[in-house]
């Protein structure tokens, strides 16, 4: 067995999970670009990517629905792993250590860290808000069932949720660049044992049933 093979053998994401993730990513990118085109005049040129203004208006809600639908299986499978625990709040209190890469000072992390968990719930909440407000402002099919006051409120809610979601995903994308090996994990599914050991030690132990470190009294 070569060294490389030995090193990259911890599976983090199955091919199904990876497919699911990238379908959501595709939906998000298209929804965000088409939505931004309608949000600020400086970005209206993005509508050219979708075949012009009317096509952007027609496609955007369907793209949004696609994103939401492909998010559901992912949400169902990772919901349990994303529940916040006591150690997660401690992790968040040490955000300075997080951003300065002082990971050895942080509590042990399971399959997901507190940042990933909060991101997950932020995405889920934003998508729910986008769905509900998006239906209200979907002029072709649904707006006629709502009063003008509700439509105005939904327009603001839609913009706010999209804004939060875009910022959250920008952080998510940067985190994937920041924590080296994460992108490979989502593209090819595997991480090195050292990666799992350093970033998600509790998960590493769980999947390998490895012994506790010597620093504990075992």
């Amino acid at each position: 067995m070569s060294d490389n093979e030995r090193r990259a053998t911890v599976e983090r994401y199955s091919s199904g999970e990876r497919t699911n993730h990238w379908l959501i990513a595709l939906g998000f990118v298209l929804a965000a670009l088409s939505g931004l085109a309608l949000f600020h005049p400086a970005l209206f040129w993005l509508s050219n990517l979708f075949g012009g203004g009317p096509w952007t208006r027609i496609l955007h809600p369907f793209i949004g629905l696609f994103m939401l639908i492909v998010f559901l299986p992912l949400a169902a499978s990772v919901w349990g792993d994303n529940r916040m625990q006591a150690a997660d709040w401690q992790w968040l209190r040490q955000l300075q250590d997080v951003v300065h890469n002082r990971e050895e000072r942080l509590p042990e992390v399971g399959r997901y860290n507190a940042g990933q968990k909060l991101l997950f719930f932020a995405i889920a909440a934003c998508l729910l808000g986008l769905l509900l407000s998006g239906l209200v402002i979907w002029r072709a099919y649904f707006s006629l069932y709502f009063s003008i006051g509700v439509i105005r409120l939904a327009s603001v809610v839609h913009a706010v949720c999209a804004f939060v979601l875009i910022c959250a995903i920008l952080l998510h994308i940067y985190a994937a660049i920041w924590v080296k090996g994460s992108l490979h994990a989502m593209l090819r599914g595997t991480v090195t044992p050292g990666w799992a050991w350093k970033h998600h030690r509790a998960w590493f132990r769980q999947i390998t049933h490895a012994a506790h470190p010597r620093t504990r009294s075992d």
Partner: protein
């Protein structure tokens, strides 16, 4: 609009000034609708259909004189009839010609995301350029008067143009030309205000103490104004807005919200970039891999199949 206009003062979804060397030195225009003179004959509706080549679907009678029942992509003006019993117990038949008010501060234009789909001319007319319209309906969301409608035929937004094509060549709007009672008058806004003041004086002398001009300041005034017998209660006239203004939600959404949100998104991306530059990536080095290998080697044998390593466990610390 096929021809370039140099008389545009505001353009939707455009953050720089439109061509602006020409000014309307003679002032802006206005249509004055004198509800106290209106007999509800609907000649204005017919003239509008005729000039603009519009034929709405023939609907069904809803039990009132309103016909068609509402504005639509093909009906840009509409008589709205209200039977009002005044405090004296008398019936008053209030008839209001509904349609675009041509606000000085147009909510439709503020909300529109399509560059150049809505323009405001220097003479005060607010016009939709349907060739640029994407059909999103944000103009409906922005309008304080519930006027624009998306056509079911082409999914573009339509409303009264104040006959911008006629006015541009010195003609009065088609509805004005057709009105048999002089309830509709057209001219400079100043002239119309003066004319309205005379009408209000006359009405007051004949017992309508609350008569007045409807030129709501909440939207900066309008270029379609009403003379009302009951100017203190505009809502009597089929729900005419007593104090119309652009909704604060629309103001938030299409005002301050836009640049702030864009800046915050750019800031988020930049924050990531500078984190990379200042602090750098979180990488795995050889001691991490060694520690992981050690932990794996210390793990019970039963998991050997799942483990990356195949060496027997040893007892190193």
């Amino acid at each position: 609009m096929a021809l370039q206009s140099l008389d545009i003062v505001r353009r939707s979804a455009t953050t720089t000034a439109p061509p602006g060397v020409r000014e309307a030195y003679t002032g802006t225009v206005a249509k004055l609708i004198d509800t106290t003179k209106c007999i509800g004959c609907k000649a204005c509706q017919v003239a509008c259909m005729e000039w603009n080549d519009l034929r709405d679907e023939i609907g069904s009678n809803a039990g009132v004189y309103d016909n068609p029942g509402d504005l639509s992509g093909e009906s840009w003006t509409l008589m709205r009839f209200t039977e009002y019993e005044n405090p004296k117990g008398d019936l008053e038949w209030l008839i209001r010609k509904d349609g675009c008010m041509h606000c000085a501060d147009p909510g439709c234009l503020k909300a529109c995301p399509a560059p150049g789909a809505i323009v405001q001319y220097s003479n005060g007319i607010v016009d939709f350029h349907e060739e640029n319209c994407i059909g999103c309906g944000y103009c409906i969301t922005g309008c304080p008067f519930n006027i624009p409608r998306i056509s079911k035929r082409d999914h573009k937004a339509y409303k009264c143009t104040l006959c911008s094509d006629r006015v541009a060549v010195g003609l009065e709007p088609a509805c004005i030309k057709a009105c048999p009672t002089g309830a509709l008058v057209f001219g400079t806004k100043e002239d119309m205000q003066q004319h309205a003041a005379e009408r209000v004086e006359d009405l007051k002398s004949r017992g309508f103490d609350q008569a007045g001009l409807y030129d709501p300041p909440g939207v900066g005034g309008t270029h379609v104004m009403y003379v009302l017998h009951h100017a203190d209660q505009p809502q009597l006239y089929a729900g005419l807005a007593p104090d119309p203004h652009i909704s604060s939600l629309v103001g938030l959404w299409k005002g301050a919200g836009k640049p702030i949100a864009l800046a915050a998104m750019a800031f988020t991306a930049l924050a990531g970039f500078f984190h990379f530059v200042r602090i750098g990536r979180n990488e795995i080095d050889e001691p991490d891999e060694a520690a992981a290998r050690q932990a794996l080697d210390a793990a019970p044998q039963r998991n050997a199949a799942q483990r990356p390593g195949t060496q027997p466990p040893d007892k190193r610390p």
